[in-house]
């Protein structure tokens, strides 16, 4: 995993875990790897992983059991909310890149529709 160097890493770790959950690599109620294991896997500081987990706990997406570690929430509503936030974030990045290329917001849907049409699998 390669991190952007001009964005706090704890935010990028949060996104990484959200993505794992959204892709089903981490299931509702499943135990997260330990702080140390995550730090090694991502080659980041354990304090930074801890901060990411703290933020996620505060938002309710994960919860901790004393002495057992962190778990993904089983609250379906929260998981849906998390996923839609993730989608919104991707869309925002896409729109901003298109705008930088000079595409006006109002032409986006038309462009996207014709692209999807052109690349539709028969």
């Amino acid at each position: 995993m390669k991190f952007k160097d001009n964005l706090p890493i704890y935010l990028q770790i949060e996104d990484y875990i959200y993505l794992q959950i959204a892709q089903g690599k981490l299931q509702a109620g499943e135990k997260l790897p330990s702080v140390r294991a995550l730090a090694l896997e991502l080659t980041v500081n354990a304090n930074t992983v801890q901060r990411a987990l703290r933020e996620m706990t505060a938002k309710g997406y994960i919860f901790t059991k004393r002495g057992e570690g962190s778990f993904v929430t089983t609250d379906e509503g929260l998981l849906e909310e998390m996923k839609s936030k993730l989608l919104k974030q991707e869309l925002a990045a896409f729109v901003s890149r298109m705008e930088k290329l000079g595409v006006k917001r109002e032409s986006l849907t038309g462009l996207l529709a014709s692209y999807l049409d052109d690349t539709r699998e028969e």
């Binding site: 160097d5 001009n6 706090p8 080659t43 980041v44 500081n45 354990a46 304090n47």
Partner: protein, 232 residues
């Protein structure tokens, strides 16, 4: 809890100013990059902290201990191994460490050697620059210290070995211990550090949290280079 507290430190050598009015506090458990141009005083600062350079003014406390000989027990610093001849084997160096440092842990040393793909029967003369640096790191993390000082552990080391060394830091640094890594570039350690301390003009010019710098949409490298703009 404070692991290191330096107050008003000045250090001169042969009437040349090496360090001037240095104030620095490092908390327990942090990973800190000590950066600055070559000759800025990074190595001298580490040597003063470690009690190897003694003719300084001001106070240096490690875990509350100011006396040079007594604070040594809390500190593990990298050694260039230049005192060992090329014909020496890795296990000879370990024997020496075991003798000199009561906190040297044999099991841990064997584990780190294995992780680094080093064999204790290899001779120092046959080690590449990267392998030698891996050995130096293995020796330092085999000691149970509160403050680890790594002096330029990446100079002349290839990218793969650098990654291995960084992973070993994450694996073997005790949770409550503080780790200081000096370097003049920051690329690969940037994601693993909590703080960056910049040495310039013989003193600590800046001490910043890495995440704080990134929160301002700036990379640590850009931040660091900003202090040298217009200089050659």
């Amino acid at each position: 809890m404070k692991t290191l507290e330096i107050k008003d430190l000045s250090y001169h050598k042969n009437s040349k100013t090496i360090l001037e009015r240095v104030n620095l506090t490092l908390e327990a458990g942090k990973i800190v990059a000590l950066v600055g141009a070559n000759g800025a005083g990074k190595t001298s600062l580490m040597r003063v902290i470690a009690g190897l350079a003694k003719q300084y003014k001001g106070s240096v406390e490690v875990c509350g201990e100011a006396d040079e000989d007594r604070r040594k027990q809390y500190i593990a610093m990298t050694d260039s191994l230049s005192a060992f001849r090329d014909s020496r084997k890795i296990k000879d160096v370990a024997d020496f460490y075991r003798l000199v440092y009561p906190d040297f842990d044999d099991k841990q040393f064997a584990d780190i050697l294995e992780f680094m793909n080093l064999n204790e029967d290899e001779r120092l003369g046959s080690l590449s620059k990267g392998m030698k640096e891996k050995l130096i790191i293995a020796l330092v993390f085999s000691r149970k210290a509160k403050l680890y000082l790594l002096d330029e552990p990446f100079s002349g080391v290839d990218a793969m070995s650098r990654k291995k060394i960084i992973k070993s830091m994450l694996l073997w640094k005790p949770e409550e211990a503080t780790l200081v890594i000096s370097d003049h570039v920051l690329d690969e350690i940037a994601p693993v550090i909590d703080e960056v301390v910049l040495i310039k003009k013989h003193s600590v010019l800046e001490q910043r949290s890495a995440e704080e710098i990134r929160a301002e949409q700036e990379s640590i490298e850009e931040w660091y280079e900003g202090f040298y703009e217009g200089e050659e």
